[in-house]
């Protein structure tokens, strides 16, 4: 279980994360959803102890984490937003170093490396330099690396950013497999479909503040299940309704390009923050 308590990060003149609270239960996939600059990465970096926190606490199974608690850190796997693979080494060598750093005994390590390469479909490329990998392959290798030491909690910062639809699907499939294996996951995204497809619960974050935490379904129902979108004079406006009939009634009186569609998390976000999520 991961408890985030009043977590705060202040830079000189910016409060990147402002008193955020949430709990992730064992086996749960929790999504942090928010626009650029919301504070998602900062939150994940504080949990992974890369960024020192200004205030608050991060508690894993009852124990506060910090950078120098090496034993507790073995329980976490991290996939950062930006590629941090060793570029002048092969995929296999990257995994080997990681395994050594995480104190895996040799036989177990070698076996697990093969398994993770298989899992991420990189076996054929294992002896190629990371420099020669595509974006999707690097991403998959980073996931393989984060999972190598069998962490209890996986932190993923925008796992599918910059990937094409096919590669994104593949990563989603990996994630779903992991989820069925009982792994606890915190992922950040600004792709709303991603949160909808993968997360048990979603935390909406904006300007460093947690606005709301709920299941994707509840969040959508709260807003209204149907969205009427109207494009007029170069601007799009949205209204939300509980039933299709209400939505149709409302749409009948509108001018401009009108569309009725099921509400999604993006609508939730829009309504709560009064701004569009750029994706």
């Amino acid at each position: 279980m991961l408890d985030i308590i009043d977590l705060t990060k202040k830079y000189k003149n910016i409060t990147a994360v402002n008193g955020v609270n949430f709990t992730i239960y064992d086996g749960e996939v929790f999504g942090l959803l928010g626009p650029n600059g919301a504070g998602k990465t900062t939150t994940v970096r504080m949990i992974s102890t890369i960024t020192p926190k200004t205030a608050g606490d991060i508690v894993i199974n009852g124990e506060s984490i910090n950078r120098n608690l090496t034993v507790l850190k073995i329980k976490i796997g991290v996939v950062p937003q930006h590629n941090n693979l060793e570029k002048e080494m092969t995929a296999w060598e990257n995994l080997e170093v990681h395994g050594i750093l995480y104190r895996m005994p040799k036989v177990k390590r070698r076996q697990k490396i093969e398994e993770m390469l298989e899992f991420t479909e990189l076996t054929e490329r294992k002896d190629h330099l990371v420099n020669t990998f595509s974006g999707g392959m690097k991403r998959k290798l980073m996931i393989a690396r984060a999972l190598l030491h069998e962490p209890e909690i996986l932190l993923l910062d925008e796992p599918t950013v910059g990937l094409d639809a096919g590669a994104r699907r593949k990563i989603w499939d990996l994630m779903k497999q992991l989820k069925s294996g009982g792994l606890t996951v915190l992922l950040t995204t600004h792709y709303i479909e991603e949160a909808e497809a993968l997360c048990d619960r979603v935390g909406l974050i904006n300007n460093g503040k947690m606005i709301r935490i709920d299941t994707p379904k509840n969040l959508i129902e709260d807003v209204g299940e149907f969205t009427v979108e109207c494009f007029k004079d170069g601007k799009t406006t949205e209204e939300f309704f509980d039933t299709r009939e209400e939505a149709i009634d409302y749409a009948a009186d509108l001018e401009g390009i009108v569309q009725i569609r099921p509400a999604n998390l993006e609508d939730v976000f829009l309504k709560m923050t009064n701004r569009r999520v750029e994706s």
Partner: protein, 244 residues
């Protein structure tokens, strides 16, 4: 300590892959210095009763181990923090930050020692001016560690790669010219000499030559270098525990 093994294994893999560029790169500038100052000027000069060639060889070893150790570690840390972000992988991992600091310093010092070995081999092919003693080797290695540790500090504290180059031209380059590499510091004005005597490279140069010095003086050089190393190392290990 398994973390130390992981770190050094990784450095070794990369070293093997860059073997030829590292080797050629480490040889070019010392050979140029030897040609210019040794053969070029050397025949017509004598310093402290020895040929200029015999005088300059220890100086070039001191300067070169300084530069190679400093640059390897400073660049490695700086690039890994600012560009490749691999520094983060280590901060996330359960490696102790003191062990990380030590591992990186050792790796940089090994680059320095490797370049020193190359120079010694090259020099031995052409002259018999260089006499290796255990003291000589110890000082050369200590010099590698001091400047690798200095490089670690600079790589850790400086947040842009262009500022790294500035640091080199304001600190490292002046040291290589002023600390007795090319001429004895006795030729310096009194005022400057006191200051120069505080710099680590001065002691390396004096120790590597150690002509006519007492045992106490020789120990003093080693002590100064060791003190520099320990202060830097302790400071860095502490910074690493909290750095962003």
């Amino acid at each position: 300590m398994i973390g130390l093994y992981g770190l050094l294994w990784q450095e070794f893999v990369v070293f093997k892959r860059k073997f030829f560029t590292v080797t050629i790169g480490a040889l070019i500038s010392p050979i140029l210095y030897l040609i210019a100052f040794g053969w070029g000027l050397g025949n017509s000069l004598e310093i402290d009763g020895m040929s200029y060639m015999a005088f300059i060889i220890p100086g070039i070893i001191a300067m070169n181990t300084m530069m190679v150790s400093f640059n390897s570690t400073a660049n490695s840390i700086n690039i890994s923090r600012l560009y490749y972000k691999t520094f983060e992988e280590y901060m996330v991992s359960p490696i102790n930050m003191t062990v990380y600091t030590l591992g990186k310093i050792i790796a940089g010092a090994l680059y320095g020692a490797y370049s020193a070995a190359l120079i010694i081999i090259v020099v031995s092919l052409f002259t018999s001016d260089l006499v290796l003693t255990p003291y000589f080797i110890m000082i050369a290695v200590l010099n590698c560690f001091v400047f690798s540790a200095a490089g670690f500090f600079v790589g850790l504290m400086i947040n842009s790669h262009s500022d790294m180059a500035k640091f080199s031209s304001f600190v490292i380059t002046p040291m290589s010219f002023l600390c007795g590499t090319f001429f004895p510091i006795a030729k310096m004005p009194e005022l400057l000499r006191g200051f120069i005597y505080l710099l680590p490279l001065t002691h390396t140069n004096l120790a590597l030559r150690s002509a006519g010095e007492t045992a106490v003086q020789m120990m003093l050089h080693a002590g100064v270098l060791l003190a520099y190393f320990i202060v830097l190392f302790v400071l860095e290990a502490r910074v690493c525990k909290n750095v962003e």
